[in-house]
C-alpha cells in the first residue's frame, strides 16, 4: 500500500484553486525559502513539538515514552533528540495538547476517505482537492496514487508546486491532475539560490514544459518586499511568462508577516523579521506592470 507523510489536511480551503477545496499538505520540501509560511513542512519526517505554556505537568509523556527520552527540566518536559524516535506516544497521551505530532503517515485509503468527506461541497462549488506542502512532487509515487484515487472519485485536482522536481516526475504527474498552481519566485538564478536554497533553472524549464504541453497552469507569485518586488524581477517575470507558448494566468500573493510566531514556536530563526507587507498600491503597480505583458493577473492573498 502506498503511504505518504502529510502534516495537515485542511477542509474549506478557499484560496487554493477554484471552489471550495480540501488541501492536503505534504511534508518535506527541497527548498527552504526565507519567507516560508509553513516551516514545519520543510522536514520530510514527522516531528514532535512541545508548548510549555499548555503543559499541566502531569508527567504522562515521561511515563509513556518507550525510550525514556522525556525528562522534567526547568523548561518543562523536554525530549532528548538523540533518544526520541518520533513515535508520537507522548503526544497521544498528553491531555493538554502541550505535545503534538507534526506530520503523520497516511495510506492512500485513509487519504481517499478524507478527501471524499466534502464531495458535496466540491460538487456545489466546482471545487476539489489541492495537494500542497511542503512539496507534493517530492513524494511522487504517493502523489500519483492520490491523484488517481481522486480521479476515481471524480474529484477535481490541483497540484501546488514550487516546480523543483525531476522532469520524469513531472511527466508522470502532469497527465494525472487537472490544474497546476505553480510558484514563481525570482528570475535571477543567483538570487534564487540565495533566498530559496536552490537555483531556478529546473523550475523555469519545468514551467516551459508544462505550458508547452498545454497543461492548465496558474502561476502564483509571492510578493516579498525587498526580495522579488524589484522592477528588474517583475520585468523579467513578465518577459518570461509572455514568452511562453501558452500564457498562464498569474495570481499575486502579498507577503504577510504571519509566520513569525510559528518560527518562534518551532524555535527556528526567521530571516524576514523586519519585512513589512507590501502596500496595496504597490501590489496594484506590480499587477499593472505584468498586465502590460498581456498577462491575466489577479491579486489574492
Amino acid at each position: 500500500m502506498t503511504r505518504g507523510v502529510i502534516f495537515d489536511i485542511r477542509r474549506y480551503s478557499i484560496h487554493d484553486g477554484p471552489g471550495i477545496r480540501t488541501t492536503v499538505f505534504m511534508k518535506g520540501c527541497p527548498l527552504s525559502c526565507w519567507w516560508c509560511h509553513n516551516p514545519e513542512s520543510q522536514s520530510a519526517f514527522t516531528e514532535i513539538i512541545y508548548r510549555p505554556e499548555r503543559c499541566i505537568g502531569c508527567g504522562a509523556c515521561a511515563k509513556t515514552c518507550p525510550e525514556g527520552a522525556v525528562t522534567l527540566t526547568q523548561r518543562g518536559y523536554i525530549s532528548d533528540p538523540d533518544k526520541c524516535t518520533g513515535c508520537g506516544d507522548c503526544a497521544g497521551v498528553c491531555p493538554s495538547e502541550a505535545r503534538e505530532m507534526l506530520g503523520r503517515d497516511i495510506t492512500i485509503g485513509e487519504l481517499a476517505r478524507e478527501i471524499q468527506k466534502d464531495v458535496l461541497f466540491f460538487e456545489e462549488s466546482g471545487g476539489g482537492v489541492t495537494f500542497s506542502g511542503g512539496e507534493p512532487l517530492a513524494q511522487p509515487e504517493f502523489l500519483a496514487a492520490a491523484l488517481e484515487a481522486a480521479r476515481e472519485l471524480e474529484i477535481h485536482t490541483a497540484v501546488d508546486t514550487c516546480g523543483f522536481a525531476p522532469r520524469h516526475v513531472l511527466e508522470t504527474i502532469a497527465p494525472l491532475t487537472r490544474l497546476f498552481l505553480f510558484d514563481l519566485k525570482i528570475m535571477d538564478p543567483v538570487l534564487h539560490r540565495k533566498y530559496t536554497g536552490v537555483s531556478n533553472e529546473i523550475i523555469l524549464e519545468n514551467l516551459k514544459w508544462l505550458t508547452g504541453n498545454k497543461y492548465e497552469t496558474v502561476v502564483r507569485i509571492p510578493v516579498i518586499p525587498g526580495i522579488n518586488d524589484t522592477e528588474e524581477n517583475i520585468e523579467a517575470v513578465g518577459r518570461f511568462l509572455s514568452g511562453l507558448s501558452m500564457r498562464p494566468d498569474v495570481d499575486l500573493l502579498a507577503y504577510h508577516a504571519s509566520a513569525t510566531e510559528k518560527y518562534r514556536r518551532f524555535e527556528m530563526s526567521y530571516l524576514l523579521q523586519d519585512v513589512v507587507p507590501p502596500h496595496k498600491d504597490h501590489m496594484r503597480d506590480i499587477s499593472d506592470r505584468l498586465e502590460m505583458f498581456g498577462l491575466n493577473v489577479s491579486t489574492g492573498g
Partner: protein, 786 residues
C-alpha cells in the same frame, strides 16, 4: 435612504425605551367595573374595544404608515391581566444597566394605587402558580425547563395573506354565517361557540374604530398643516385609515397600513410571544406593487420610501419587559418579529419577486434591531437571490438568516399539513416552523438536556439544589456498560418531560378558559368556522413545541464517558461521576483528557456524530407525538435563544470537560471550541441530524469579513449554504465578526476556537495564530471599519 427615511430611522433609534401605564390603567378600570357582566370571550373583546376607543393616538411628523401600541414610539404597554409587575419590578426595570425601561413617577403611582391592588391574585401568572403543584415548581426553579406562558400569552404565530383580499366587514359576515349555522340541538358547545363568535365580531369593530380614530387625527392635523406636501400626505393617510381595515386594501400604501393595523390589533389584545410575525410580506405586497407601478400610481422610489417607513414601525415596539427567570433567559428589547422573504408559492413555483429584492435593500440600509428578516431558500430560488442576501449578511448584522424552504415544507408535511398550507407557511420567531395564518404553534419552554443527564450521574438528585428531582436510577458507580448509563439518562428524560408536559396541559387549559385571543382568532383559519378560540383548538393546526438545549454538550459528555470509561477503562464510572460532581477539583488531567482526547461533535466524525443521533432520537421519541389538549401534538425544536447561558449557569460540570456554571452548547452548534476541522465539517456533522423530524434547528457560524470579501467570497458562502441544504438542514445564520469579538477572543480563546479569520493567502483559526498576528489582523479590521 432619503431624508425622510433617515429621519424616521434615527428618531426610532434614538427614542428612549419607556414603560407606559396607559394600557394597564384602561384594562384595570374596565375589569374593575365590568368583570362578570359577560362571558369570558366577550369580556376580553369588550376590554379590547375599550382599549381601541380610549388609548391615545399618535401620528409622527414624517410618518406614512401610522399607529402605535403605546402613546408614543418605544413606549411599551404592559399586560397586568397576564403578569402584573410589582413596584420592585418597576424599580429594577427603571434602574438596571442592561435593557432598562424608564418608569415615570406617574406610571409608578398608577401601578401602586390602581393596577397592583386590583390584579394581585387575579393575574394568569398568579392563577398558574397557585395550582400547578410543587413538583413542577421545584423542577422549574432548579432549571430543568422553562415555561413560556407564565408571563406572556401563547403566541409565536404568523399571519398570512388573507386580509389583503378581505376586510373586517368580510370577516364579520363570515362570523355571522358561522353563528347562523350553529346547531343548538345537536352541539352541546353551541352556546360557548356563540359567545366566542360574538366576541370575535366585537373585536373586528374595535380595530375599525381604532383606525377611524387615526383618520380623525390625520384629518385634524391636515387642517392645521402649513406645508402643502405634508398636508396632502395627511389627507391621504386619513382616507386610507377610513378605508382599511374595514375593507380590503386597494393599493400598495393601503396594504402596508392594513398589515400595520392587524399587527397593532394582535399585540394590543394580548402579549403573545414573538410579538406578531407578518409572514411572506414580499408575496403579499407584490400584487399591489405591480398594479400601482403599471397604473403609474407609484414609482419604485416612492414604493421603497413607503416600505421603509413601514419597516421602521416595527422598531418602535421593544418587547414588553419580563421578570425573573424569563427575563434572564431572554432579556432583550427584541421581540422576535421575523419577516420571510422568498420561498415557494402555494402552487410550488418560485416565490421571489421584485419586492423581495427591495426588502433586502431596505434591510441593508435600515438595519435596526427590529424587524429581523430571513430568506426562505428553495432549490427553485435562484443563486442571484441567495447572493443578494449574502451581500447583506456580509455586513455583519447577523441577518437575514437563511432557511431551507424545501425542508421547512417537508417538516410541515410530515407533521400532517397539506402541501399548499405548508408552502404558504415558513418560519417565525427564531427558527420555528408553522403554517402561517392557520396554526397555533406554541413554544412551551426550553429543556435542559445536560442537566437531565446530571440527574443520571446523581441517582435522581440535582447536585446544585440538593433536591431529589429525578427518578432513582442507581449509583452511577454501578453502571457496568455504556448502555446502563444511557438507560439511566433516558429514564430521567422521561421523568422530566412528564412533569413538563403535565404542567403544559394545565397552563394550556388556563389560557383556553381565561384568556382567549379573540382578535387573533379572527385572523387564524379555521377559528371562525369552528367557533373556537386561537387558544382553544380553533386553528386548523395546533402544535406544541419543546425546545431542546445543549445537544453538543450532551453528545460530547457521552462520547467522553463512552471512550475513557467504558472502552479504555482509563477511569471508573464512579471516579468520573465524582470528579464531575466536584467540578473536576484536583482532576485537571481527567478534565483535559475528556475535553481533548475525545471524539467531539462538529468534526464530521461518526464516533461522536452517532451519539448525537442517539440523543436526538431519544428526545424525539420522548416528546414527538405526545398529545396536547387542543387536538394537536408535540414536536421538538433544537434552539436555545440565549437560554444555553441561563441553563449553563445552574448546571454543574459536565463530562465533556465543561466547568460548572459555564454556558451549554448553543443551538445545534458544536460545543464552543470543540470543532476543529472547519465549517464544512461542522456542516456535515449538523447535517447528520434529521432536521425533517423537528420544527426547527438553529446553527450559528462565525466568519471574519475578510473571508467573505469580493464576489468570490459571496459565491463561496452561497455554495456553503447550498451544500448544507443538500443535507436537508433547516437553518443557518452567520456572524461576520467585528473588532469587539476579536478582542474577546483574545481574552477568552477557549470560547472562540471556531472563529475563522483570513490571514494572508489562506484562512486560519484566529485562536491558533500568534498574538502578534492577532494584533495585526485586528488593526487591519479596524482600518476596514473606518
Amino acid at each position: 435612504m432619503n431624508d425622510r427615511v433617515e429621519r424616521l430611522r434615527s428618531e426610532s433609534f434614538e427614542a428612549p425605551v419607556a414603560l407606559d401605564h396607559e394600557r394597564a390603567e384602561i384594562i384595570t378600570e374596565y375589569y374593575r367595573d365590568n368583570f362578570g357582566k359577560f362571558s369570558v370571550p366577550v369580556n376580553r373583546a369588550m376590554a379590547f374595544m375599550e382599549l381601541c376607543e380610549k388609548k391615545s393616538i399618535f401620528i409622527g411628523r414624517d410618518e406614512l404608515v401610522v399607529g402605535e401600541r403605546g402613546p408614543f414610539p418605544k413606549s411599551v404597554s404592559t399586560y397586568p391581566e397576564l403578569n402584573c409587575h410589582s413596584v420592585e419590578d418597576l424599580e429594577i426595570l427603571d434602574s438596571r444597566e442592561k435593557n432598562p425601561y424608564k418608569v415615570s413617577k406617574k406610571c409608578m403611582d398608577v401601578y401602586a394605587e390602581k393596577v397592583i391592588p386590583y390584579w394581585r391574585g387575579r393575574t394568569m401568572r398568579d392563577k398558574i402558580f397557585a395550582d400547578i403543584g410543587d413538583e413542577w415548581k421545584e423542577t422549574y426553579a432548579s432549571g430543568f425547563f422553562t415555561e413560556f406562558m407564565e408571563q406572556r400569552a401563547p403566541g409565536h404565530t404568523t399571519l398570512d395573506g388573507k386580509f389583503y383580499t378581505k376586510g373586517m366587514e368580510g370577516f364579520k359576515s363570515d362570523i355571522d354565517e358561522s353563528i347562523a349555522a350553529l346547531d343548538f340541538k345537536a352541539d352541546p358547545e353551541a352556546t360557548k361557540k356563540r359567545e366566542q363568535l360574538k366576541a370575535m365580531k366585537i373585536s373586528c369593530d374595535a380595530v375599525i374604530l381604532f383606525a377611524e380614530r387615526h383618520a380623525e387625527l390625520a384629518s385634524k392635523m391636515a387642517l392645521e398643516e402649513k406645508d402643502p406636501a405634508r398636508k396632502k400626505e395627511l389627507e391621504r393617510i386619513a382616507s386610507i385609515c377610513r378605508y382599511v381595515p374595514r375593507h380590503a386594501p386597494r393599493d400598495f400604501w393601503e396594504a402596508l397600513q392594513m398589515y400595520w393595523f392587524m399587527h397593532l390589533g394582535t399585540i394590543t389584545e394580548l402579549n403573545g410571544w414573538d410579538a406578531m410575525n407578518p409572514g411572506h410580506l414580499d408575496r403579499y405586497f407584490h400584487p399591489f406593487y405591480e398594479s400601482d407601478l403599471k397604473s403609474g400610481a407609484i414609482t419604485r422610489d416612492w414604493a421603497k420610501e413607503l416600505l421603509s417607513a413601514f419597516w421602521i414601525k416595527f422598531n418602535n415596539h421593544p418587547a414588553p419587559p419580563k421578570v425573573g427567570v424569563t427575563a434572564a433567559e431572554s432579556g432583550t428589547y427584541n421581540d422576535f418579529t421575523n419577516i420571510n422573504l422568498g420561498g415557494l408559492l402555494s402552487d410550488g413555483s418560485d416565490g421571489v419577486n421584485d419586492v423581495s429584492y427591495m426588502m433586502l435593500e431596505i434591510i441593508d440600509e435600515i438595519h435596526l434591531l427590529q424587524p429581523q428578516a430571513n430568506i426562505q431558500l428553495s432549490r427553485k430560488n435562484s443563486d442571484r437571490f441567495l447572493k443578494a442576501a449574502a451581500r447583506v449578511i456580509r455586513k455583519g448584522y447577523g441577518y437575514p438568516s437563511v432557511f431551507n424552504a424545501d425542508t421547512v415544507i417537508e417538516e410541515m408535511i410530515r407533521a400532517g399539513k397539506s402541501v399548499e398550507d405548508a408552502r404558504e407557511g415558513g418560519t417565525s420567531g427564531c427558527v420555528e416552523t408553522g403554517a402561517f395564518g392557520k396554526e397555533a404553534y406554541i413554544l412551551t419552554g426550553y429543556l435542559n438536556t445536560p442537566k437531565i443527564f446530571e440527574l443520571a450521574l446523581n441517582n435522581g438528585v440535582d447536585p446544585v439544589s440538593g433536591k431529589k428531582i429525578g427518578a432513582e436510577t442507581g449509583d452511577p458507580a454501578g453502571f457496568k456498560t455504556f448502555d446502563d448509563l444511557y438507560a439511566a439518562f433516558e429514564k430521567q428524560l422521561h421523568h422530566i418531560v412528564d412533569i413538563k408536559v403535565r404542567g403544559n396541559q394545565f397552563i394550556e387549559r388556563m389560557y383556553a378558559d381565561n384568556a382567549p385571543a379573540v382578535f387573533l382568532s379572527v385572523l387564524t383559519d379555521d377559528c371562525i368556522k369552528r367557533g373556537k378560540d386561537y387558544n382553544d383548538g380553533g386553528p386548523r393546526y395546533n402544535t406544541n413545541y419543546i425546545q431542546c438545549v445543549g445537544i453538543g454538550t450532551m453528545t460530547d459528555s457521552l462520547s467522553a464517558l463512552k471512550k475513557h470509561v467504558f472502552e479504555e477503562n482509563a477511569f471508573t464510572m464512579g471516579e468520573a461521576a465524582k470528579a464531575v460532581r466536584e467540578n473536576f477539583e484536583g482532576k485537571e488531567a481527567m478534565r483535559l483528557t475528556f475535553a481533548n482526547k475525545t471524539s467531539r461533535w462538529g468534526n464530521d466524525d461518526d464516533y461522536a456524530d452517532s451519539l448525537m443521533k442517539k440523543v436526538f432520537n431519544s428526545l424525539y421519541d420522548e416528546i414527538d407525538g405526545r398529545p396536547n389538549t387542543k387536538g394537536g401534538c408535540y414536536h421538538i425544536d433544537m434552539l436555545p435563544t440565549t437560554c444555553h447561558v441561563y441553563f449553563g449557569s445552574i448546571t454543574g460540570a459536565t463530562p465533556d470537560g465543561r466547568l460548572a456554571g459555564a454556558p451549554l452548547s448553543e443551538g445545534i452548534s458544536p460545543v464552543q471550541g470543540a470543532d476543529r476541522n472547519g465549517p464544512t465539517a461542522v456542516i456535515k456533522s449538523c447535517g447528520k441530524m434529521d432536521h425533517i423530524r423537528t420544527g426547527g434547528t438553529l446553527l450559528n457560524m462565525k466568519f471574519m469579513p475578510k473571508v467573505l470579501e469580493g464576489e468570490e467570497g459571496i459565491d463561496k458562502l452561497a455554495k456553503l449554504v447550498r451544500t448544507y441544504f443538500r443535507y436537508d438542514a433547516h437553518h443557518i445564520q452567520f456572524n461576520v465578526v467585528d473588532l469587539e469579538t476579536l478582542r474577546e477572543a483574545q481574552a477568552h480563546p477557549e470560547n472562540h476556537r471556531d472563529l475563522i479569520v483570513r490571514v494572508a493567502g489562506y484562512s486560519d483559526y484566529f485562536c491558533d495564530i500568534g498574538p502578534d498576528l492577532q494584533e495585526e489582523i485586528i488593526s487591519r479590521t479596524a482600518q476596514e471599519e473606518v
